[in-house]
Subunit: 194 residues, 2 copies
């Protein structure tokens, strides 16, 4: 697969933030945001998570290209409903994804707290192509969701979360505002639990 082919399915140069769908050996699906690293070769670095345990069981992962702030927020900090999945040859992908690429994973590195896999594309599909302007609110939700998953109840984290909320309040649409509320609730809950 050439860089142009990958790019036509949404994976450009650098790290692409996508929703990874995986399943356990018993077929239970999971969705979570991951970064697909594209620097000459395709890689993924996975820390301890359901995504990692599923990949170790099946050696497959699908990268779903999504343009919905809410799906990033929910999959980063909780679980999506089973009805959001559809299946391609028995493997879960997201119904609402703009596109997905199914990869076979090849173990490349096993470190103390993460694994690195090489990714080999084995199938792909585009549901829709769009023209889409930059929405700073959407982008702020992505950053806020990442911050929340690493939640530390420090002054710096709280200030950054407020910074992202101001951008969403100013620039976001309805979907970004709902997603930001979800992220902030999760952030507070996680901070309280720690």
């Amino acid at each position: 697969m050439t860089p142009e082919d990958l790019s036509s399915y949404g994976i450009g140069d650098g790290i692409s933030e996508v929703i990874a769908t995986t399943q356990s050996s018993s077929g239970k699906p999971n969705a979570a945001p991951v970064g697909i690293i594209n620097r000459g070769e395709l890689l993924i670095r996975l820390y301890k998570s359901r995504t990692l345990s599923n990949v170790l069981e099946t050696m497959k992962i699908a990268a779903n290209i999504c343009a919905d702030a809410m799906i990033f927020a929910i999959t980063a900090l909780g679980d999506i409903d089973d009805e959001k999945f559809t299946h391609f040859r028995g493997f879960p992908v997201l119904k609402d994804a703009d596109a997905w690429i199914l990869f076979r994973c090849h173990m490349r590195e096993r470190a103390a707290n993460f694994f690195v896999f090489n990714l080999e594309p084995i199938a792909m599909h585009a549901n829709r192509k769009r023209v889409m302007a930059v929405n700073r609110g959407f982008n702020a939700v992505i950053e806020a969701a990442i911050l929340a998953t690493r939640a530390k109840n420090t002054e710096k984290s709280v200030k950054m979360m407020e910074h992202y909320k101001r951008i969403v309040d100013k620039c976001g649409g309805r979907r970004e505002k709902d997603a930001m509320n979800f992220v902030i609730s999760a952030f507070r809950r996680i901070c309280d639990e720690r």
Copy 2:
């Protein structure tokens, strides 16, 4: 024009960051990033700038939907080459835009330091549709360019610029890294001049 029509040309709910192309009454083109506000009605708020003086002269503006970090960086902090423009019925738009919408502007509010205009779509064109994953490096360039245009040589601004640079170094492709270098050079120059 319905919200669905606007959305199919890239303008969603909330504020869309686009490259505005305008021209003076003598026909000199200009390009600069602006936010198109879409909250039931379409608005633009313009502060003192060449974009504003051109709009006051011609009462027209084109919103160019672009997915290139470098075009945001250059137009925010400098000038693009004339060869980047093409013309639609005598009005400048960007050759490389994914899409553009040409608007007639109607004065709505004149405040001490800004003007607000209602936007009436009069023509539109899509050059290409894409599947595009989120690239945090791209998003960080947009935030860094906005920060640079408001450059203050404060500890907070410098720290935020370093934060954006770390994201671009980690997640950006070649284009985002070049754009971030451009933004940082401009930021330092503006800070030095003040």
